[in-house]
Symmetry: C2
Subunit: 243 residues, 2 copies
């Protein structure tokens, strides 16, 4: 991991850009941390530059509660090389959505499964690097989308102790079996009136999770309208499980 | 309203028993209130004596946030006179549940609709009396079950500004039309693995509510296993809307 930029935000949070091999990422650490801070990995749908305003808002909110936060670019997003197969799957998905057709499982599989297969080892490599920094301690949480990445990480990465998952994206049916293997505490966010999202699939997925402690928060406001108080709820969820 | 008992709990909360005509009730007020306290009506399934430990715990939790809390006995519960029709409906319900049969809509209607018709005017009369006390100010919230009572109150009682509803009891299908007329902010609690509860009906009901701000919290733990952190979430919900 190589730091490429550093700035102190007005609330004292230290924001550092980094690269991990070819993968760009951002790390935020609280201004006033005395002990190593627990870490929250911020999941997102790809495109660090576009997502930056929302990511930095989430990171500052987490930092106010004493958490460090970090994110990396997804494979095939932002400035990272595109994959022809992923671009084709994305185009097929867009076409189905624009035609108002139900999205074929096969398109979701082509789009999401390779993404999960590529992204999860990258997140784990980032975790290795981040946890080697003296200012970051365990335990670790994962927060946000892509929910399929969160599911796989929750199953394969024992350092992740709790996850706040945004149920706002497509999940291959084959991943329900993985969802059943998840045992860490979960807070699942669902935008009830998110028209582009399959609500029943999200509810089925919540049902499938094997975790004994799992909570679903459903709200109104559309895909991007998650109410502000959910940020506080997320902080309290992670405070219960990471502190 | 006539006060019948008074005791100071160890956290300073003042607990007063009262009667309103033939209806017994309990009022809890915060120990350290300087201004009139906003009021939360504590809904419950009936039987003040049996429910007391849970009700006093909820009231103390609310009082710690500066809320007064009050409850009254339901018609046909506790020491109040039984209705033959309600007892018959209750027996029919029990028989269906014990036989593992689906509960007929007609039984639910016979059990719940007369209860709502009788209980709601009583709650409103209690509200008149409670709001005439100098230590209690508006606005008012309703929290708990019976959810059908909460729905009717939310529609007909303009002094109720927010409701935290426990979706753990039977709701007559005809009340879905009333649910559509609810416009106040709602926090709906659902115990996901409550085997005696119709989960799909609870989700349909959440969908039906007309409120622009509505939040669903679903948890594990069975009918009586609502996690403790939901008490804090409820306090914050009411603090957002009643303060």
């Amino acid at each position: 991991m190589r730091f490429t930029s550093e700035q102190r935000l007005d609330d004292g949070v230290l924001e550092r850009g980094f690269t991990l091999g070819e993968i760009p990422g951002i790390l935020w650490t609280p201004g006033s941390a005395s002990a190593p801070a627990p870490l929250i990995l911020l999941g997102h749908p790809g495109g660090l530059h576009t997502m930056y305003p929302r990511l930095v808002a989430r990171a500052r909110h987490s930092a106010a509660e004493g958490f460090a936060a970090a994110t990396i670019e997804l494979p095939g997003s932002g400035d990272r090389p595109r994959s022809a197969a992923a671009e084709q799957a994305r185009a097929d998905l867009r076409r189905a959505l624009e035609a108002g057709e139900p999205v074929d499982d096969e398109i979701v599989d082509r789009l999401v499964l390779p993404l999960v297969d590529k992204a999860v080892p990258e997140w784990r490599a980032a975790l290795d690097a981040l946890l080697s920094l003296p200012e970051i301690g365990g335990p670790v949480g994962y927060a946000g989308g892509v929910i399929a990445i969160g599911i796989r990480l929750a199953v394969v990465e024992p350092r992740i102790c709790a996850a706040g998952l945004f149920a706002g994206s497509f999940v291959p049916r084959t991943m329900f079996e993985e969802a059943r293997q998840v045992t860490i505490p979960l807070l699942v966010l669902l935008q009830w009136d998110d028209e582009g999202n399959d609500r029943q699939l999200a509810l089925d997925l919540f049902d499938a999770f094997g975790s004994k402690e799992k909570t679903l928060h459903a709200n109104m406001g559309g895909h991007t309208g998650v109410p502000q108080f959910e940020g506080d709820d997320g902080n309290r969820f992670f405070a219960r499980h990471l502190k």
